[in-house]
Amino acid sequence: MKAVRPPLPGWLETLRQRLFATPVDIAVSFLCLYVVWRISVPLVDWLLVEANWRGTSREDCTNAGACWVFIRARFAQFMYGQYPVPERWRVDLLGVLAVCVAAALSWRRLPRRREAAIAALVVLPPLGIWLLYGGLGLRIVETREWGGLMLTLFLAIYAGLIAIPLGILLALGRRSRLPLIRFASIVFIEFWRGVPIITVIFLASLLLPLIMPTGFNVDRLARAVIGLAFVIAAYMAEAVRGGLQALPDGQVEAAQALGLGYWRITRLIVLPQALRIALPAMTNEFIALFKNTTLVLIVSIFDLLGIAQAALADPAWVGMNMEAYVFAGAIYWFACFGLSQWSRRQEKRLSAAYGR
């Protein structure tokens, strides 16, 4: 009979069970530790210990590690692209405004929260375009001067603003009683889901000018937003459809028995529940959209990644590839990871509140 070893005190026992339970486990654990060691030590060395933080030019980078001087020198470009310096307050103002409104709306006990949300959705997007583009008293800043993180956020948010309502409509259309509407929705969804996003961005930038009346010019950036929005709407529709399918039939039948019409059932009964179920899937699609905004690089629009890429061509800062990529990648990572964590929290909160 095998001798049963007495349990070690407290966390040591946990450690033993989690890492050193069997000889194989011990070997695996040490192998893992070795891998972590081999990767993290040079990485931390390069990122922090040996890195250069102070200075203004390439000559200040004397240590063996990363040259963060480069990021400091080009920080404004990473944020705003070629947006003219005296006008950058407009971007900042919009950003502060958007954050404040979002913060106020996420406060659950805000009086008249629903009305305030609708008002914000109606007012903010046009206000944003006015602030960024100009006109009506503000200097006009052409979209080709936009760039950097600001452009990434613009693309993601405005494409999302089109894609979410369109996606909900498409999902409803796909489950419609009317065969023609259903067929049209299916064709739309499957078409855009079936082709690579890069080809859609190409397509939007080549075909939109062609199919508009002569003299009617669609802005380059607007083409990219429309192209992205259509694809994401198709994916969004599938996410919403998941929520619609999860809804028990009894809900609609009960509402019908009460004498409600299609739109009222949809607005009051179906969508509030279906969207709640679909929220995690929809957040995933939004994360995908955020990542896919990088593809506008292919039509020479310089979002955050594009600016990082363009910065590599600067003769004053040759060989800063790694620094530029690490900086841009970290921003994408934190944004996407944060979003997915937020979605997980919401999912938990909602499932606790509604018992799903």
Binding site: R18, L19, A21, D25, V28, S29, C32, L33, V35, V36, R177, L178, P179, L180, I181, A184, F191, R193, G194, V195, P196, I197, I198, T199, F202, L203, L206, L207, P209, L210, I211, M212, P213, T214, I287, K291, N292, T294, L295, L297, I298, L305, Q309, L312, N321, M322, Y325, A328, G329, Y332, W333, C336, F337, S340
Partner: protein, 384 residues
């Protein structure tokens, strides 16, 4: 009139008629604008351009394409290159994905955390980032041909790509592949026979061991024999570059690395979800029957996890094929780069070229989903 509108059937017809008319009006509007604009810009239409000489250089092709060939041949080269990089990346992504997914389920805390870090790292960063990172960050930092990384003196990695040896005579390999196909068929037949016999007589047959020899060891022997039978064209350093053999250009290597490591993160999550979907009671029951851990996995876990894993994994493969279009960003000559890029610039026939490109991707997508439906119908879990 009002009462007439209250009839649901009448309203349904009216709504659909309205939607159809609206759609037709929009489409006609766009098409008329397009034809007007094309006439004004003097753009030709039709598909004759496919048979014109392309005059476009493609630095990486295995189809034997030359710039004096037609645009159709150029398109074919793009398709082959897309398939080449996708196929290679699918295999490697599956291997990494399954490994990481299983690591994620390990009870060893360090191992599963390492896997989790990999998954969260890869999934939260845009794919284009990885493509550019590998191309401009990693491969551009490789040494010059003179200081190449040398793998056993037959393969060489430098900033011009990966040079690998090429057999001078492929007949032996064709024979070996034929032999492998025969072996696989034999293994399938054997497995069927063994299963039937076990059902009939209860006698066990070491199918897995035999399968390991038939489909694992013998193919390696066959390939080794074929490799030994032919002479090899090994790349050698001449002047400033390697000559001979076959060069996998850096664009291919970068795209392949990015696609396989990125998709692997998604496949790992699929694998984890599939295996976790097998209820613990199933495993407990299998153990209670006295099955060995290996058999629990083989006979209880995998058969129930696979139907859950296969459909999402297929859509990941499909995503990978679509994502290979990101090669256009680093000028890897796949469909989008050579056709939507070079050929479109050369001919100006945007509508035809876009239609063909989208058609190709849609065909691939339809084929894959047809397979998926067939698989789902065949492997639907029968529950009582």
């Amino acid at each position: 009139m009002i009462r007439f509108l209250r009839d649901r059937k009448v309203r349904d017809v009216l709504w659909q008629a309205l939607a159809t008319v609206g759609l037709v009006v929009v489409v006609v509007f766009f098409v008329r604008n397009a034809s007007d604009n094309m006439v004004k810009a003097g753009i030709a239409s039709g598909f004759q351009f496919l048979w014109r000489d392309s005059g476009i250089e493609v630095p990486f092709n295995i189809t034997g394409y030359k710039p004096s060939d037609t645009i159709l041949a150029l398109l074919w080269t793009g398709i082959v290159n897309t398939i080449l990089v996708s196929a290679a990346a699918v295999v490697v992504a599956t291997v990494i994905g399954f490994t990481v997914g299983l690591m994620r389920l390990s009870h060893n805390w360090l191992l599963s955390t390492l896997a989790a870090v990999y998954i969260e790292f890869v999934r939260n960063i845009p794919l284009l980032f990885f493509v550019l990172f590998w191309y401009f960050g990693v491969l551009a930092a490789l040494p010059t041909p003179k200081e190449s990384y040398d793998f056993l003196g037959i393969a060489f990695l430098n900033r011009r790509g990966l040079s690998i040896p090429l057999p001078n005579d492929v007949a032996g390999f064709q024979l070996a592949l034929l032999a492998i196909a025969v072996l696989i068929v034999a293994q399938i037949g054997l497995a069927r026979w063994a299963k039937a016999r076990q059902a009939r007589t209860g006698r066990d047959f070491p199918t897995w061991m035999v399968g390991f020899v038939l489909c694992g060891l013998l193919p390696i022997v066959a390939l080794a024999v074929a490799g030994a039978a032919t002479s090899w064209d090994v790349p050698t350093l001449r002047g400033f570059n390697y000559r001979g053999g076959f060069v996998l250009v850096p664009e291919f290597v970068a795209l392949f690395m990015a696609l396989s490591t990125y998709t692997a993160g998604f496949i790992a999550e699929v694998v984890r979800g599939g295996i976790q979907s097998v209820r613990q009671g199933q495993i407990d029951a299998a153990r209670a029957l006295g099955l060995t851990p290996g058999r629990v996995v083989r006979l209880v876990v995998i058969p129930q996890a696979m139907p859950v894993i296969i459909p999402p994994i297929t859509s990941q493969y499909l995503n990978l094929i679509k994502n290979s279009s990101l090669g256009a960003a680093i000028a890897y000559p796949e469909i989008v780069a050579v056709f939507m890029g070079s050929a479109l610039v050369a001919t100006g026939q945007a509508i035809e070229i876009i239609a063909i490109t989208l058609g190709i991707y849609l065909t691939i997508g339809l084929a894959v989903s047809a397979f998926m439906n067939w698989y789902n119908a065949r492997h639907r879990l029968v529950t009582r």
